[in-house]
């Protein structure tokens, strides 16, 4: 086929990347000692990160084609292949996933005392599942990874979570499953429509009747909108985030939420371009509601983790807004914002986890004056605060600006409305910072108090440092990431804007066509 480039390297790099964590997890089965388990897991994740790096360095930025492709027959009678590869959209998420996995192992070093072996097995299985989702180019393979990733996450929340963990875990699982099952129906329909192939690239290159596109878009939308999560499918998120252990929250915010938007980019847009253009307006409305709604709810939160969770709703609203602006700036901004959100919100959850280990409270009102108690912690936290607000010089600005630019270009009104989210964002983050770090501290937490809180130690600084560096790196030189996307995004937009139904641009006219 002409739109793939077979693996440029001499070894199957993607297979190694995806299955190394599985191998590590199998290795853990033979271990008893918790320390050994931690070291093995850390080494596995680090090794995965290291072997995934050639993907970035050897990546051909000039082409939109799938690269590092591996293809083998798997179940030939059903037309199922082991078919994996990456392009400019997925390569960044591989990087994000392997990096955040290392950090989430590091942050769990002391926090997980109970069932350490099972915990680390789950983390590794989760990493493999997430990587698989981003590389799969066959729907069967994709769906297996998509669902496989749910189980370890379910366990992470349900076993190592907070007091409400079971409720949160089941809610998370069912919510996601309902969406996924609808997607499965969509996949089956696609399989039969296309005459028995599950090859994602082939399926993307076909044209489907508008009516079919409409229903299939909705089926896929169900799965992805829950994952993003878009308003009003977001209520699993605060519970899952709040109850999950730190590592779970980090991976959830950093990678799992990206799956939805990634799905839009990889499946919905190229396969159902006409339906995509039809749904721009509803999705814009939902995104803007999500942005403002998420921010307003943040203003009323009393719990640190819940606040950050709701801020994710707001930030992911920006992502969908950008993606469905259907222009280069919007889509690239959306992708960049996904990476940014992974970095910034991931780091925020890391930091909240660190302080929670010390104070055992997540209630904002219990804090105050912590800039005096833990100055280095406060210093790093303010960087994250402003990256989250989207201050120029941090990565958040680049993403938000490109998204607002794209949205404004597409539909002025929604661009303007979304920009109000930037004001509210400053409102709740600064309010949080003031409550937690400024004013006078509770003497209990001071060095001579009853519960002295110590500042960051070396392990924690090492955990946070890569993310802080990335914040500024992307902020001052975003082309380091943007350059990967250009070719793929351009190709994607060509696909979407190539209209088979030109002239029936209004929603009403198209709906008449369908019904």
């Amino acid at each position: 086929m002409e739109n793939i480039i077979l693996n440029q390297l001499s070894y199957p790099i993607l297979t190694y990347t995806v299955f190394l964590p599985v191998a590590g997890a199998l290795l853990l089965l033979f271990m008893r000692n918790a320390g050994l388990i931690r070291v093995t897991t850390l080494l596995t994740t680090v090794a995965t990160f290291v072997i995934s790096l050639p993907l970035l360095t050897n990546f051909d930025k000039t082409t939109y084609k799938m690269q590092f492709v591996e293809r083998h027959e798997w179940i030939p009678s059903w037309g199922i292949n082991y078919f994996i590869g990456i392009d400019g959209i997925s390569v960044l998420f591989i990087f994000l996933t392997t990096m955040l996995s290392v950090l989430s192992v590091l942050v769990s070093w002391k926090a997980i005392e109970n069932k350490a072996k099972e915990f680390h097995t789950a983390v590794l299985a989760l990493e493999a599942g997430m990587l698989g989702v981003f590389v799969a180019l066959d729907f069967f393979l994709f769906y297996i990874f998509w669902e496989a990733m749910l189980i370890p996450m379910f366990l992470l929340i349900g076993v190592w979570g907070g007091p409400q963990r079971v409720y949160a875990a089941i809610k998370f699982f069912l919510y996601t499953l309902v969406g996924s099952v609808l997607m499965l129906v969509g996949i089956v329909v696609l399989y039969f429509t296309a005459g028995g192939t599950l090859d994602i690239l082939t399926l993307s290159s076909l044209q489907y009747p508008l009516q079919l596109q409409f229903w299939l878009f909705l089926a896929f939308f169900a799965a992805f909108a829950v994952k993003v999560p878009m308003f009003p499918f977001h209520t699993w998120l605060p519970d899952a985030h709040t109850e999950a252990p730190t590592a779970g929250s980090v991976i959830l915010a950093g990678v799992l939420l990206k799956m939805g938007a990634y799905g839009f980019l990889r499946f919905s847009m190229p396969m159902f371009p006409d339906a995509t253009r039809m749904f721009v307006k509803p999705i814009f409305i939902l995104s803007v509601i999500g942005i403002i709604y998420g921010a307003l709810v943040c203003l009323a939160q009393k719990d640190l983790k819940r606040l950050i969770a709701y801020s994710s709703v707001s930030h992911m609203g920006f992502v969908t807004l950008g993606i469905f602006a259907l222009n280069a700036q919007g889509v690239e901004g959306g992708i960049l914002q996904m990476v940014n959100h992974g970095i910034v919100t991931g780091a925020l959850f890391l930091m909240i986890g660190m302080i929670y280990e010390r104070t055992h409270t997540r209630v904002i009102a219990d804090y105050g004056g912590f800039a005096t108690v833990v100055p280095w912690y406060a210093g790093l936290f303010i960087i994250l605060t402003f990256a989250s607000i989207g201050l120029p010089g941090t990565n958040g600005f680049i993403g938000e600006f490109l998204i607002l630019f794209g949205a404004f270009k597409a539909q002025k009104l929604y661009g303007v409305l979304a920009a109000t989210g930037v004001i509210l964002g400053a409102g709740y983050m600064l309010w949080l910072y003031q409550k937690v770090f400024w004013q006078t501290p509770d003497p209990d937490y001071g060095p001579s108090g009853r519960h002295p809180v110590r500042d960051l130690d070396l392990r924690e600084v090492v955990t946070l440092a890569p993310l802080i560096i990335l914040i500024f790196w992307i902020g001052f030189y975003p082309n380091v990431l943007l350059s990967y996307m250009h070719a793929s995004v351009e190709h994607l937009l060509q696909d979407v804007n190539m209209s088979a139904y030109a002239g029936k641009e209004t929603l009403i006219a198209q709906l008449k066509e369908i019904f």
Binding site: F401, F408, Q434, H486
Partner: protein
């Protein structure tokens, strides 16, 4: 090129070193890094200024910042006449204030932090003035806001300081919201956000309209007004002025540097920078002028009755910024920049002088508890007098030249111009009054503080007074670069210097008119002094009587026209309440969670009913099976 890059880079280095190593290693030696860095910037800025006067306008791109689709923006510097003047103002005043801070902040626990933030501020401000495109301007714009946030909240253990920092940032965000949209609209209109390209194509879209919610508006007007939104926020104009007085919670050097001399003038700088756009929109120009004029008089009236020494000066700053916008709005851009430049010196001097007073009185800021400081602090008193003479526009000092220029240009500005001139002149009268009131309350009469304080009264150390003297020199002589043609042929050197960027003023008037305006402004300056003298020296019981007589007016002014209360009641409280009660409490918890938990609950309820079919008795199952078999057999026999 390296030279220009180093101008902002030196303070940035100072910031990085101080913030990383200040806490554990540098501690109270922070100024050893910060002062040389900013002084180095000053020297480089002077050299850049020399280059520009020699005719070398520099426009360099350093590297590509953001590239996405057809959107392209670089990190790059434009150093022209306007920038070079701003560079001189920013770096010279920064250097003096850094030195002053060595004395003022001595012994503070966050000494290293203070110099780190201050260095970061200088870096940001330099990026702001040196940018060669709108997005980099926006970068500097937000970054100075960030530093302002840190520095206002420098003493963060005080709730008032923490609140003020947050308020400043969020109020500014309202302005930046418009500014950001303006930048986007500029790109969509001109296909570029580089100054040079935008300004050279500025005229190409005259007459185009933009549709907003069904109504067509003039495109350029919309762009200009959006940009002006940003200026209103940053330069504390009506109706976003509320953050600046509160910003006085920061240490006094911060008030002098950020909230008087440099950052708050960024809006003026930006509008002047965008003059090719503003010139094309009559509506936008009028808006700028009227907002400026109204702010000038609005803030001056509040300044009349305040008792906190720093707040009086803060309102004076808001008022003077209004003057600058007034000048920009009537097309006298160079007059606006000229006033920006002279104002930087005398206002920094006023703030630092008040800092010297506050320092001597151990953090007392209420003027009602001062008085008679003249004999204890002669140098401070002298510089205060110089600054006041300058700000009130007494001939021969810096303020006179720039203020006179503004009033004269306003006077020539047609019908609205006359009105604006009137506003400006009345504001000048008020300015003169409250400035002298400040002097009389602080330095004259008898000391009204505690004995303890009186015992410790002393002149400030040299590290504080020497920068004051330097600034005083500036406050006297800075104006001589812009002598009106009436007094000296080719005296308006700054106007001519800036003409390549800002153009020439649109209107010319007669000598007689100029004389009249000048005489008028001198007259009101003296008038203000006279009234203040009558009220505070001759008969000190008079202010109270006047206050009693006009009780409602006094209360209105004393409470700053209740603007803060208005915003709190109509905007802040409703949003917070709505987010808690309506959005979270009702929509999220009741409706969405209701549906999410309601559907499973419904299924559960149904199942609980339905499961009673399962009796558990074997014979029931058997009977059902038998009946089923019978039904099937019956169907096969009778229906087939």
């Amino acid at each position: 090129m390296l030279k220009y890059t180093l101008i902002p880079l030196l303070p940035l280095l100072s910031f990085i070193i101080n913030i990383l190593f200040g806490r554990n290693f540098i501690k109270d030696k922070a100024h050893w890094i910060a002062v040389p860095a900013v002084a180095g910037s000053f020297i480089l800025a002077v050299s850049a200024f020399m280059d520009v006067t020699a005719g070398n306008v520099v426009n360099i791109n350093i590297y590509d910042w953001i590239v996405s689709g057809d959107f392209h923006v670089s990190i790059g510097f434009l150093i022209d006449q306007l920038t070079s003047i701003m560079l001189i103002v920013v770096t010279s005043i920064s250097t003096l204030i850094f030195i002053y801070s060595i004395g003022y902040m001595h012994g503070d626990g966050g000494y290293y932090r203070f110099f780190a933030y201050l260095s970061l501020f200088v870096f940001s401000m330099l990026m702001l003035v040196m940018a060669n495109n709108f997005l980099l301007l926006y970068f500097g714009w937000e970054a100075v806001g960030l530093c302002s946030y840190f520095l206002i909240g420098f003493w963060f253990h005080k709730k008032s300081a923490a609140d003020a920092g947050k308020k400043a940032f969020i109020v500014n965000r309202f302005g930046d919201f418009g500014f950001g949209l303006g930048v986007i609209l500029i790109f969509l209109t001109y296909g570029s956000i580089d100054y040079v390209q935008v300004f050279s194509n500025a005229g190409s879209v005259v007459g185009q309209t933009i549709n907003i919610l069904g109504t067509d508006y003039d495109l350029i007007t919309v762009i200009c007004l959006l940009l002006f939104c940003g200026a209103v926020g940053k330069s504390a104009q009506l109706p976003l002025h509320v953050w600046l007085p509160d910003a006085m919670e920061g240490p006094t050097p911060v008030s002098a540097l950020i909230h008087a001399a440099t950052m708050v003038t960024a809006g003026v700088f930006m509008v002047a920078r965008c003059n090719p756009l503003f010139n094309l929109s009559h509506t936008a120009m009028n808006t700028v002028a009227i907002v400026g004029g109204l702010t000038a008089i609005f803030a001056a009236t509040i300044g009349l009755v305040q008792n906190d020494i720093k707040r009086v000066i803060a309102y004076s700053t808001v008022s003077q910024l209004g003057y600058m916008f007034l000048a920009l709005g009537v097309g006298a851009y160079s007059a606006g920049i000229f006033h920006l430049y002279t104002h930087a010196y005398f206002k920094a001097l006023l703030f630092l002088g008040s800092g010297s007073v506050i320092h001597a009185l151990h953090d007392e800021q209420n003027m009602q508890k001062m008085g008679g400081l003249k004999k204890y602090m002669p140098i401070t008193y002298a510089v205060f007098i110089i600054a006041t003479l300058s700000i009130t526009g007494i001939p021969g000092l810096a303020g006179f030249f720039s203020k006179d220029e503004i009033l004269y240009r306003a006077y020539l500005g047609g019908d609205t111009g006359k009105f604006l001139w009137l506003l400006g002149t009345v504001a000048a009268l008020l300015t003169s009054f409250y400035s002298w009131r400040l002097i009389f309350l602080t330095f004259h009469g008898k000391f009204r503080g505690t004995h303890e304080q009186e015992h410790h009264l002393h002149e400030s150390p040299k590290v504080i007074t020497v920068p004051l003297m330097f600034l005083a020199v500036g406050a006297i002589f800075a104006g001589y670069v812009g002598i009106p043609p009436l007094l000296m042929e080719h005296g308006d050197r700054i106007g001519e210097f800036l003409a390549p960027v800002l153009g020439h003023p649109h209107s010319e008037g007669s000598h007689a008119e100029e004389m009249m305006v000048m005489a008028g402004s001198v007259l009101v300056a003296l008038g203000g002094w006279f009234i203040a003298y009558r009220m505070y020296i001759k008969s000190p019981e008079l202010p109270k009587k006047v206050g009693e007589m006009f009780k409602p007016v006094y209360n209105l002014l004393f409470n700053k026209y209740y603007v803060d209360e208005l915003y709190s009641k109509t905007l802040v409280q409703p949003v917070i309440k709505a987010s808690d009660k309506v959005v979270l409490g009702f929509i999220d918890i009741k409706i969405i969670e209701g549906i999410v938990n309601g559907v499973p609950a419904l299924i559960g309820a149904f199942s609980r009913k339905f499961r009673q079919v399962q009796t558990g008795h074997l014979s029931n199952y058997g009977l059902a099976m038998a009946l089923g078999a019978l039904a099937i057999i019956g169907y096969m026999i009778f229906m087939k």
